[in-house]
């Protein structure tokens, strides 16, 4: 655990989860690991709160879950992205790009 990593910015957790799931179906712990990995340990997911997000997005219909067996033969609940989820991901990443560009512009010109 790295002391320099920070919590995922509020409101972006959904987008990150969707991004991870856009590549392949994954279980909750796997999603945490992937986010940490992909952000090179810069981001840290509050482990428990991940599930509130996952359940909410299931309700929204962006992802769906199924039980399956992991590589080392354990029962785990996998989440996969739906078509609505991909659409949502597009919306959120566009939004994020706009926001990040805006922030970057302000920071570079100040």
């Amino acid at each position: 655990m790295s002391s320099t990593s920070s919590d995922v910015i509020r409101g972006t957790l959904d987008m990150l989860i969707l991004k991870v799931l856009a590549n392949e179906a994954e279980h909750g712990w796997g999603i945490c690991e992937r986010i940490q990995q992909l952000s090179r340990e810069a981001l840290r997911v509050q482990q428990g709160s991940l599930y509130a997000s996952l359940h909410r997005m299931t309700r929204e219909g962006w992802i769906r879950s199924y039980w399956s067996v992991t590589a080392n033969n354990r029962q785990a609940r996998y989440y996969e992205i739906t078509r609505a989820g991909r659409q949502q991901l597009r919306i959120e990443s566009d939004e994020w790009t706009r926001l990040a560009n805006g922030v970057a512009l302000v920071m570079s010109n100040a």
């Binding site: 482990q47 428990g48 709160s49 997000s53 309700r59």
Partner: protein, 872 residues
């Protein structure tokens, strides 16, 4: 987002909750395990890895709750858990729960049942165009000639129709048994005025109310279904009414009645200027269907026009002057005006009962909440919000109120028929009121209101935060609770005194009514109406009546039997003017009037009406003998104040009536009603004054069972001739009770409500005082250990318990005095401020309060110091 997935998810969360939670648990366990394994791989010891994995995951419970919150149904979960908790609480305190449910159930049930009656009579639309329909002044007193003169060219009314009421024997076929049919003879425009069309066939055609028209009739849906078996070919079939065939041309819609449900058919009357009745008898009621949007000014103008027309054409005596005091009354008011006041009185009384029940339940719930101070404090300390606890209390109250509403619905369904049958409704109206879904909606709404209102006091206590610091606040909470309790008790007692006071006044009033001397003895006397169809085979009218009486008198147990035209205290009757031989003809109103009753020889004896002097009617008073008459005591006194009327002669029954010799004076007795003035009465031998219809009212005194006697009289009489119709068979006591019906029933209901109020008030006082005693056991124990006598403790408790009762009783007396105007109209020879009634009411309630307070107080005096100290 997709609504569908959202809602399927929510539904699954609601109904598949267990599986969902199990899966979540499994998911969390998997996550923690994976994390721990990763840590172990990084070199942690198994034990430390497991602990760290848990730590990283965060609070298991909190995360589970957050996941659950994301399912979108947490409000419902809370409600369900509160509801379950509430039910558990109710089961745990069966005594408290039963008390609250019975209390509230009675209040809600009574209110619901009465609401249904009020709704049915005063709110629900009548089955005809009622809001524009009005009744003319002088109901049932208009002549055909007057009607014809004013019916046309009205400014304010689309239609003016005339009708009356009539009853005749009818048969559905030549070989069927005759029965009585109450029907409405009306002008041909009746249904136009009512704005209703028959469901089958047609109404009346213009001109069907004139001479020479075909005899037609429109029947009610009920007559069609019950008497004609709902035959599809009903149109064109014939009924035999009064011996004549009449063709059915229409069937009215289901639920239609006019003017009251007891009339089951409508037929055109005949307006024939050649008929002496046309210009001679006033027997019609006039109704007008107002033009749309007509206002009262136009109606006044119209009434002026009508009275001018009448004044130009007719001359009136003062008593019957139709040109004076002309007015119209809305039909609903005409039909139900007499029940509105008693209904509203009962409604007010029931509302008071419901309030008492609410106060009671509120006190009980408050006591319960205070008892649970400990539990609630712990829950607050564990992080439950004040709002959450308040919501829980409200949910508990609502659960209680909902169960009570269910109990109330049962009370209402059971009590409804009793209530309806005991209201002074005109015959047949019982069917017009029903316990519909509106009533149950009201019960439910009442339950919600009650549930919320009874939790106001406890919730306020909780929200004030008195529960926070336990040590300091419990005493504060208790003090606040005590004040609210005292207020609730005082309010209950006030209402109870008012209800008991009203009931006492009515009871005293009914005692006075009971004490009225009717002048006859109805005990053991049965009666029924008997009408023979014209052209029946059983001989002439006189022979027939003699034959009926002979057979009835031969029945076992019959002591005497007679026939009259109209029964005392039930049937009204026309008063006619009387001419006295040897006295100058007096004009108009000064001419003496009298009511007449025909009688067979044993009629007076059967009702134990005494002949004070002279003789009674005998078999010798035949149509061809000397014409005789008996007069009532007051009539004799008024006309012949200083001499005996025996042997004098009078004439009665229109112009050129023959002289009749007075042969006897009859004891004064009640005639048309129980209260009010007694009219002059003439008793005429039936043989000498046969009247228009063959038959009359049989009265028979029996020494055996009255119901069985009625049945055997019915058998004997119908066995004589199929063309006989019998109606209104009942005991004479029923007749008298019916005459007293309204005050008796009001007394019954107010008495019932008063007793319930008394009971609930006592329960409330008992509950609160014993609660206070239980709370202060330790204190009493210490006091007595320090030397206080048990009596001092007892007095102390009594004082605390009785103070709100005394305050409430005083307020109740003042309030009763204030409301005396409301009950005045319902009382007979009883002052609404009757001191005895007020004192009785107040002392009854006080006594109930003392008893209710003494029992727990006495228990407090018996507290053993050691034991009480140990228990706390």
């Amino acid at each position: 987002m997709s609504r569908l997935t959202d809602w399927t998810f929510r539904l699954r969360a609601l109904f598949g909750r267990q599986s969902l939670e199990r899966q979540t648990d499994q998911e969390f366990a998997f996550h923690i395990q994976m994390e721990a394994e990763k840590l172990e791989r990084e070199g942690w010891s198994a034990e430390a890895a497991a602990a760290e994995a848990h730590r990283r995951f965060g609070s298991d419970t909190r995360e589970r709750q957050r996941a659950r919150d994301s399912w979108g149904v947490s409000a419902i979960y809370d409600l369900m858990s509160d509801g379950r908790h509430a039910l558990r609480q109710m089961r745990r305190r069966p005594g408290f729960t039963a008390l609250a449910i019975v209390t509230l159930g009675l209040g809600i049930g009574a209110t619901t049942a009465l609401f249904a009656v009020v709704y049915g009579l005063l709110v629900r639309p009548l089955p005809f165009r009622d809001e524009r329909l009005s009744m003319f002044w002088f109901d049932y007193s208009w002549r055909g000639s007057e009607y014809d003169h004013i019916r046309e060219g009205s400014l304010a009314f689309d239609q003016i129709a005339a009708y009356s009421t009539w009853g005749e024997p009818f048969r559905t076929g030549p070989s069927e048994q005759s029965r009585m049919l109450g029907y409405i003879p009306a002008t041909a425009n009746l249904f136009d005025a009512l704005g209703v069309k028959p469901a089958l066939g047609r109404g009346f055609l213009p001109g069907e109310d004139r001479l020479g028209a075909e005899r037609v009739i429109v029947i009610s849906h009920g007559l069609w279904q019950q008497d004609l078996g709902g035959a599809p070919d009903v149109l064109g079939r014939q009924l035999i009414i009064g011996g004549q065939p009449v063709s059915i041309v229409g069937v009215m819609p289901k639920g239609f009645y006019f003017p009251t449900p007891e009339f089951r058919a409508w037929r055109p009357l005949t307006l024939d200027p050649a008929d002496p009745v046309y210009a001679g008898s006033g027997w019609l009621a006039l109704i007008g269907a107002g033009k749309p949007g007509v206002n009262s000014a136009t109606i006044d103008l119209e009434l002026k026009r009508i009275t001018r027309l009448l004044g130009e054409r007719f001359t009136y005596s003062t008593v019957w002057d139709k040109t004076r005091n002309a007015h119209v009354k809305p039909m609903r008011e005409y039909l139900f005006g007499n029940v509105r006041d008693p209904l509203l009185l009962l409604m007010g009384a029931v509302a008071m009962l419901l309030l008492i029940a609410c106060a009671n339940a509120a006190a009980l719930i408050l006591a319960r909440t205070t008892d649970r101070t400990g539990e609630l404090s712990v829950r607050l300390a564990l992080g439950a919000s004040h709002g959450r606890i308040a919501r829980q209390i409200v949910t508990e109250s609502l659960a209680l109120a909902t169960v009570s509403a269910a109990a109330g619905a049962i009370v209402a369904s059971v009590g409804f028929r009793t209530l309806v049958s005991s209201l002074p409704l005109q015959q047949g109206f019982g069917g017009a009121v029903s316990l519909g879904w509106q009533a149950f909606l009201i019960a439910f709404v009442l339950a919600l209101v009650v549930g919320v209102s009874v939790s106001i006091a406890p919730v306020r206590q909780v929200l004030r935060g008195r529960l926070d610091g336990r040590e300091r606040s419990e005493e504060g909470l208790r003090r606040g609770t005590r004040q609210i309790h005292a207020g609730l008790i005082a309010a209950q007692v006030t209402l109870a005194v008012m209800l008991v006071c009203g009931a006492t006044l009515l009871i005293r009033s009914v005692e006075r009514l009971r004490a009225i001397d009717t002048g006859f003895d109805g005990r053991g006397v049965v009666t029924m109406d008997l009408v023979r169809e014209p052209g029946a085979s059983s001989g002439s009218d006189q022979e027939f009546i003699r034959a009926v009486l002979e057979r009835v008198q031969a029945l076992p147990g019959i002591q005497s039997a007679g026939i009259t035209n109209r029964l005392p205290v039930r049937d009204g009757g026309w008063q006619g003017s009387v001419t006295i031989e040897g006295r100058p003809e007096l004009a108009g109103a000064q001419r003496p009037n009298a009511l007449y009753r025909t009688a067979t020889p044993d009629y007076l004896k059967t009702l134990s009406m005494e002949v004070k002097s002279g003789r009674g009617i005998t078999d010798a008073d035949r149509a061809d003998g000397e014409l005789v008459v008996l007069v009532s005591e007051s009539f004799a006194r008024r006309i012949w104040p200083n001499e005996s009327p025996l042997g004098k002669r009078l004439a009665f029954g229109g112009t050129n009536a023959p002289w009749r010799t007075i042969v006897g004076i009859v004891e004064e007795s009640r005639m048309t009603n129980m209260m009010g003035e007694i009219p002059n009465v003439l008793y005429l031998p039936l043989a000498q004054f046969p009247g228009p219809r063959a038959g009359g009212v049989i009265v028979a005194r029996t020494s055996t069972d009255q119901v069985a006697t009625l049945a055997s009289i019915r058998d004997v009489v119908t066995g004589m001739d199929k063309k006989l119709a019998i109606s209104r068979s009942m005991t004479m006591e029923t007749v008298v009770n019916n005459a007293l019906a309204e005050p008796l029933r009001l007394r019954f209901f107010l008495g019932l409500l008063g007793s319930l109020a008394l009971l609930l008030g006592a329960v409330g006082v008992y509950g609160v005082v014993s609660y206070a005693v239980a709370r202060r056991r330790a204190e009493f124990g210490i006091r007595m250990a320090l030397g206080a006598a048990p009596t001092i403790v007892l007095a102390h408790v009594l004082r605390g318990g009785m103070l709100p009762v005394v305050v409430g009783a005083s307020v109740g007396i003042l309030a009763s005095l204030g409301l005396s105007r409301v009950v005045r109209g319902f009382l007979f020879e009883t002052s609404p401020t009757d001191a005895l009634s007020l004192m009785t009411a107040a002392s009854t309630v006080l006594l109930a309060g003392v008893v209710a307070a003494v029992v727990p107080a006495w228990r407090a005096g018996k507290v053993s110091p050691v034991e009480s100290l140990r228990s706390d």
